[in-house]
């Protein structure tokens, strides 16, 4: 449920993060040990449920914003609806990519570096955790906490992009998974590329919000920009929660 005191929220963030981390580890072990596809899907859905509820606060869509269409609360609620509609639309791209991956490769997967995959996944998950802290801090008017949280999130996001584009891509190419060699390589680069594009967009949003936040443009009552950037950032994480098993864990090596 929604906590109102600051320490409660922060503690909740930690608990959720621990759950997510454990589940991610579990995923990895399931894949290595028994390769049960159904189980991997269930774990991914649980993870996404946790992120959507505790980090993205999907229940806020249901919040009563009064009858006055000119009030800031009403405006913010409309914006929130707009953002979620956009995410719904966007999820169709990622969904279609995932479907294409299974259509083309079935239950085989490209030969990728497992440790690299787990590392970038962890980095992104950790960034979501700090994003949540930053948003919670802003909700309670703690600008310092907000700036620290945002800066760490931004840094981890950069690490993720660097990890995928700068390390993972060259490694894959060196291992023979190239965009033009096979459909498997093509879909791997398309999925990670499309996701990376969204991460970069998210980083730009985070940068804008961090800058405006440090200039004192947000307050405990009025920080829609922070919330929007946070929800978008967590959405990018949600996509990766599905893409990580789809690319690294599910299926036999081809």
């Amino acid at each position: 449920m929604e906590h109102t005191d600051k320490t409660g929220i922060l503690r909740q963030g930690v608990v959720v993060f621990v759950f997510l981390a454990v589940l991610t580890g579990l995923e990895f072990l399931i894949a290595v040990a028994i390769g049960a596809v159904g189980l991997l899907v269930v774990v991914a859905i649980i993870k996404v449920g946790l992120v959507m509820y505790y980090y993205m606060h999907i229940y806020r869509l249901n919040r009563d914003s009064g009858d006055d269409q000119h009030s800031p609360e009403y405006r913010t609620a409309t914006n929130r609806l707009g953002l979620w509609l956009f995410l719904l639309s966007d999820s169709f791209v990622f969904g279609a990519l995932a479907v294409s991956r299974f259509n083309l490769l079935g239950l085989t997967r490209p030969a990728l570096n497992q440790y690299l995959g787990l590392t970038v996944t962890s980095v992104l998950l950790l960034s979501s955790f700090f994003m949540n802290r930053a948003e919670a801090s802003m909700e309670h008017g703690d600008r310092r906490g907000f700036i620290v949280g945002m800066a760490i999130t931004l840094l981890l996001g950069l690490c993720f992009v660097g990890g995928v584009l700068g390390v993972e891509w060259p490694t894959a190419i060196a291992d023979g998974v190239t965009p033009s060699a096979s459909a498997a390589g093509a879909i791997f680069f398309m999925m990670t590329g499309m996701h990376a594009l969204h991460v970069v967009t998210g980083l730009i949003l985070l940068g804008i919000v961090l800058r405006n936040g440090s200039r004192g443009l947000y307050s405990a009552d009025k920080h829609w920009g922070v919330e929007a950037a946070a929800v978008y950032w967590h959405f990018v994480d949600v996509v990766w929660i599905f893409f990580y098993p789809a690319l690294y864990l599910i299926g036999k090596l081809s």
Binding site: D67, Q69, Y74, A77, T78, L81, G82, L85, F86, L88, S89, D90, F92, V93, A96, L97, S100, N103, L104, P179, S180, A181, S182, A183, A184, G185, A186, I187, F189, M190, I208, R211, N212, R215, L217
Partner: protein, 614 residues
């Protein structure tokens, strides 16, 4: 003239062309440095054209200034909520945030596109009048035929957006859309998209039809890429427009306007927007994948690399089938909206009609593979997709029967908009009834990819979109301008277009069944179709002539039409309770719903009242 050149439109286009050239030169330069071949058949190489085109679209956005306010917000600055538009025509070539102006911008763009796409059809229709090639080459024929398809589709999407943009906020009593800047962005992004699409004419065209199936589309000239990029860009208009409309309908309704007291058109618009918001992403993705296959050799659809050409068809039709519901649902909404006005009776079965729109939209997501019965997809998919396809008949039937019950025992008037409504019903009926033979798989194996299909979908689209669109223009023209369109010319338009159109499509179906394939530039004289083709060509010309009458009527009436500032049609709808044309921000006194929308003939009933001031 100077005002035109200073407009956002002109700036955007100039910037786009400059950006295009710059992008192409950059890539060409890089290629020269890398020692790659710098130039190709169409001067620049394909990567240069594509990258340039992409930069061109971004330049249009930057140059026209549609994102200015968002940049200010990102920098932490405030902008005024509303912006005043200049008087006169300049506001239509500049950036306006008023949904009524944007609606008219959309509608005019749509008419322009329909005229362009229709002219393409007229050209190749004339070519088909005789067997053999008379004045077109094969490549030109195929390019015009393909462009006719996509230009019409974009034209219709834009027209749908126009109708919804202009009307929905008025009908629900809102001041504007939920996100006015996004609304302007959604419109303006169409302009560079159209320029890209038409540029394919100069870049070798493309001979794949609007479906662009690989591997054929992976081998077509560079024009193919312009087509992909154009559709991709226009897709954003659909997606963001749909998003805006849903948010508007859910959040901006007047007091007392509960879900089942909204004018029925709003339900159609909602159902349509749900589709554009989500499914459009898949055609965008499908086209992107082919673009990357061409540019980087990524083998998504290349069997030699383990790709699957059928996958493209699934992604493509997952959007492109629901897309026809995007075209027709608002049109059917217009029919439901106007019938009660002209029969002076309540709309029969309001809730059922509202739900049938949603039903069609949702079932529409589950039928896409009926376009692929002969494609070689997995056979076990054929029967379930046949079931879901036939299921569409149920909510569609509900609409027809409700319309009949609405007309029953009314007091029916026949002004021009009503004629087009009735024409729409009849033509859509024929389009609908020619559908089930394509759903029952065995018959479809004969009918698919023939002129039968061409006749069938032209009937559905004319009945579901074109006729209602004309009805809407004749009906709401006085609202937008304060003047009426000429009735006599309107009726002439109707009585020339309808018989000509029915002749055209029924003959299409006939020769299709006898062996006329789709998308062929030439046909075997041994088939004996010459006579039919001559009649069809004449019918096509008559349709064009009737549209010309309409355009003359439209342009003339803007200035010289009979003054009509009141409730011309004696409608109960809120927008007619105030004088035409409406000021920006619509209703000076907010409206409040106190009754049912369509209680024509119910003594003492009232739909809305005006509350006093803000």
């Amino acid at each position: 003239m100077r005002k035109l050149f200073a407009s956002a439109l002109a700036r955007g286009v100039l910037w786009q062309l400059a950006g295009w050239l710059t992008g192409a030169l950059v890539i060409t330069g890089i290629r020269m440095v890398m020692g790659l071949k710098p130039l190709d058949t169409f001067f620049f190489t394909e990567p240069a054209w594509v990258f340039g085109a992409f930069i061109g679209v971004l330049s249009f956005i930057a140059g026209s200034g549609i994102v200015g306010d968002w940049f200010k917000w990102a920098k932490g600055q405030q902008t005024p909520e509303h912006r005043e538009d200049p008087d006169g025509w300049e506001k239509y070539v500049g950036i306006s945030l008023d949904h009524k102006v944007i609606g008219i911008q959309y509608a005019v763009t749509s008419l322009v596109l329909l005229v362009v796409g229709g002219s393409f059809a007229l050209i190749f229709r004339t070519e088909l009048a005789q067997p053999g090639l008379q004045f077109l080459t094969l490549q030109w024929y195929n390019t015009l035929m393909s462009l006719h398809g996509i230009v019409m589709i974009i034209g219709i999407l834009v027209g749908v957006a126009g109708v919804m943009n202009y009307l929905v906020p008025l009908l629900i009593g809102a001041q504007d859309m939920a996100f006015p800047r996004l609304n302007a962005f959604s419109f303006w992004i169409v302009v560079p998209a159209v320029i890209l699409l038409l540029s394919s004419l100069a870049l070798g065209g493309f001979d794949t039809g609007w479906t662009g199936y690989p591997p054929l589309s992976a081998r077509a000239p560079v024009g193919m890429q312009m087509f992909f990029l154009g559709v991709f860009t226009a897709g954003w208009s659909s997606i963001l427009g749909g998003l805006n409309l849903i948010a508007t309908t859910l959040r901006m309704r007047a007091k007392g306007m509960t879900a089942f007291r909204m004018p029925i058109l709003v339900w159609g618009a909602m159902a349509t927007s749900l589709i554009t918001l989500t499914a459009t992403q898949l055609i965008g993705l499908a086209f992107q994948l082919v673009m990357f296959q061409r540019l980087l050799g990524m083998g998504f659809f290349d069997p030699a690399k383990g790709g699957n050409p059928i996958l493209f068809q699934h992604l493509f039709w997952f959007y492109s089938h629901p897309a026809v519901y995007v075209f027709v649902l608002p049109g059917l909404g217009v029919i439901s909206e106007l019938l009660p006005v002209f029969v002076r009776k309540p709309l029969y079965g309001y809730r059922w009609i509202a739900m049938s729109s949603l039903g069609i939209a949702l079932v529409g997501f589950l039928v896409w593979a009926h376009h692929m019965f002969a494609s070689g997809m997995n056979q076990y998919l054929q029967v379930p997709f046949m079931y879901s396809t036939l299921l569409v008949a149920v909510p569609t039937g509900v609409k027809f029967f409700s319309w009949l019950a609405t007309i029953w025992k009314g007091k029916i008037d026949f002004p021009t908009p009503m004629l087009f409504v009735l024409g729409g019903i009849v033509v859509f009926l024929i389009g609908g009834l020619s559908g089930p033979p394509n759903a029952t798989v065995a018959t479809d194996l004969h009918l698919t990819d023939t002129y039968f299909i061409v006749g069938h979908f032209h009937d559905t689209i004319f009945g579901g979109y074109v006729f209602p669109f004309f009805a809407a223009i004749y009906f709401w023209f006085p609202k937008a301008t304060g003047r009426r369109m000429n009735e006599r010319l309107g009726k002439l338009h109707f009585w020339i277009m309808t018989p000509a159109f029915l002749t055209l499509t029924l003959l299409m179906m006939r020769i299709g069944m006898l062996g006329m394939r789709r998308r062929i530039a030439d046909y075997d004289p041994a088939l004996g179709f010459e006579g039919y083709h001559i009649v069809m060509t004449i019918a096509g010309c008559l349709i064009a002539f009737s549209v010309l009458i309409f355009l003359v009527n439209l342009v003339r009436s803007v200035r010289h039409g009979e003054k009509a500032e009141g409730n011309v049609w004696n409608s109960r709808s809120p927008e007619w309770q105030v004088p035409s044309p409406l000021p920006s921000h619509n209703y000076e006194n907010p409206i409040e719903v106190i009754g049912e929308p369509y209680d024509y003939g119910v003594a003492g009933s009232q739909y809305i009242k005006f509350s006093k001031g803000h």
